[in-house]
Symmetry: C2
Subunit: 374 residues, 2 copies
């Protein structure tokens, strides 16, 4: 299959996703299983799969449906979870992760999916894809569950960078809104700025500045700005896009993961503690399994890198077949919607308007503001 000449990118109206088969905690078998599910579900999807041929060929051979739609590309090396991003940037050529990104750079694929080392994936994506014109800092956006059925909230940055100035935060909002609009189908997302309270005077000075910027530019960005939100709102229905710096975002994401894991483990303890609870658990088993799935951090998949010349979906390192399929499905949806081009256009429109973070006014002057500085 590695030698087949079928070029999916040239096929009209087909969506090609570049997938890294290696580097996840559950190994290439989980990736291939996720692939099979995605291929079955999405008729216009083709995949370029990167990884060790000797491992992948036997996995793919079992799946006849894949022959026409998966192109296998051999990559001898793997980026491990322990590899430092700086090392991978210098010596990453020949790894499946590098090749996965390269296929997007070369225009063969419309988006990339990997469940490997996040830092390395961000470094390689930055190096090979480069930032979109006008983007100050790319960001990682993650999804959070809410009480409202399938509704998920978008939060960014989750750790692409540990700091963000007010202009970066405005750009995160613009990119997060594009993601919510094209990935989640929300026409006019509500944006909130994460702070330690909702009162005007609370929080760090740079947040007060970002608060002003977001309020002034909400109309241009076609979103509703609802002001400050708190940690309790991240998983609520009162907001769609939560904007914060990468340090705070990463801590919030991992705290939510840790809390969900603790509650699940305590629930298991509780339901096996007495004869009655064990019997009850047996009767409620299906409902409880559904709940476990819903709050399992491995399933809330798809950190998406925004602001690069190409969409990259970072699947959770511990993702199983369902998780991989969710990540591929998300990449497919974002590629089909042309997310990269839409973000580029949004950022450019802000740049053209000369929106200056420092000026404070909503003017149309031609000055180049820090929002648009690279």
């Amino acid at each position: 299959m590695a030698s087949q000449t079928h070029n999916p990118a040239s096929t009209d109206a087909r969506i090609v996703i570049s997938v890294d088969a290696m580097g996840g905690d559950k190994g290439p078998a989980a990736v291939v299983a996720g692939l099979v599910a995605s291929i079955a579900r999405l008729p216009d999807l083709d995949v370029i799969l990167h990884g060790d041929e000797s491992v992948l060929q036997p996995l793919l051979a079992h799946e006849r449906t894949l022959a026409q739609r998966v192109t296998l590309r051999h990559a001898a090396r793997v980026v491990t979870m322990e590899d430092k991003p700086s090392q991978v940037m210098r010596h990453g050529l020949g790894t499946s992760m590098w090749a996965t990104i390269e296929a997007v750079r070369d225009g063969e694929a419309a988006a990339a999916v990997s469940c490997g080392n996040t830092g390395a994936l961000m470094a390689v994506s930055m190096l090979r894809l480069r930032k979109l014109p006008g983007v100050g800092r790319p960001a990682i956006a993650s999804l959070f569950p809410t009480p409202g059925g399938d509704k998920q909230n978008v939060m960014l940055d989750m750790g692409a960078d540990v700091k963000a100035d007010p202009a970066n935060l405005l750009q995160y909002a613009v990119m997060g809104v594009s993601y919510a609009r094209n990935g989640m189908g929300l026409a006019r997302p509500r944006v909130g700025l994460l702070n330690v309270g909702t009162e005007e005077h609370k929080g760090r000075p740079e947040l007060h500045e970002a608060n002003g910027l977001l309020a002034r530019h909400a109309a241009t960005g076609e979103f509703d700005y609802i002001g400050y939100v708190e940690g309790t709102d991240i998983l609520s229905e009162r907001v769609d896009v939560i904007v914060t710096d990468g340090f705070t975002g990463n801590v919030a994401l991992k705290t939510a993961e840790g809390t969900a894991r603790l509650v699940s483990s305590l629930m298991r303890q509780a339901l096996t503690s007495t004869v009655f609870s064990r019997l009850g658990a047996l009767l409620a088993a299906r409902a409880l399994r559904r709940l476990q799935r819903r709050i399992d951090p491995r399933r809330v998949n798809g950190g998406v890198f925004l602001g690069l010349k190409g969409t990259v979906v970072k699947s959770h390192g511990g993702a199983d077949a369902t998780g991989i399929a969710a990540a591929i499905g998300l990449a497919h949806r974002l590629a089909k919607a042309g997310l990269t081009e839409r973000i580029a256009a949004r950022v450019a429109s802000f740049e053209a308007a000369g929106q200056d973070a420092a000026s404070g006014g909503p003017g149309n002057d031609a000055g180049t503001g820090s929002v648009s500085s690279e």
Copy 2:
């Protein structure tokens, strides 16, 4: 009862706690109910209760056991959740919150408990009690549940201040260790510094500096420094005291609260979704109620203000009788252990050793370092 002359502070070996009856979401009745439970459980506890006499007198009249051990002090005004800290600092005289703190300042009570407005309580505590000599920034410490039975983790700062420099973070560690030792009975607490990864190179520059400071001063502070921890570790058993700035701590606390609340609500949904699950829930009802209690943020009580000339326990605004009793119990335990004096001694010993945040060495030179600067 308001006129009784019995002065609990003068009674030998009795522990007097000053309690604010007003300002909580559930009203004075919940506070009195919590008081009754505490009084019954702790034979050496006496209480000075502050609030509206016309409301409190009837509540107390029902409880004969309280007559000898509760001194009622009338305060006509109440600090509401909407009041700004700056206003309360200027015009707070005459409120029950102000009087609650004043009793500690005057030496009548050994510690204070309030479930009112956190910002206002911190402002009044700072203003009236003042910082301990050598303390740069006071901090709020909160408790987090873990999978290990009753073990709880201490995390600080939860929002006394939105920023912290490396010397502040070292002092938070010293104060948090005193709290864990005297409040939780941990002889040699393990301290972790919250970051976005556990690798040396990750995170903000000021964290790298704090990381070095903590490693060098762990022996002096009689704690084990385990290095960086992540959001997932906050609710784990690998650490006892988690150190971070007040912005990050506040977001983490509220994210954990929001996640626990979401999971509880999804659990309720799941357990009422089918006939079988409803029957199962009925059988497992007791175990599930115990679980709900354990993860209910209103029960994980007691934000404690550290670094002031007096211990102040901030009970959750939504605390019920059980929550209030937990907060009073904690205040009693910390007062009995002499937490304030112990923190003062620890901070002074660091100051005497002239530990300089900038010097980098564990030297015993007499220079006044930024750790000890006020």
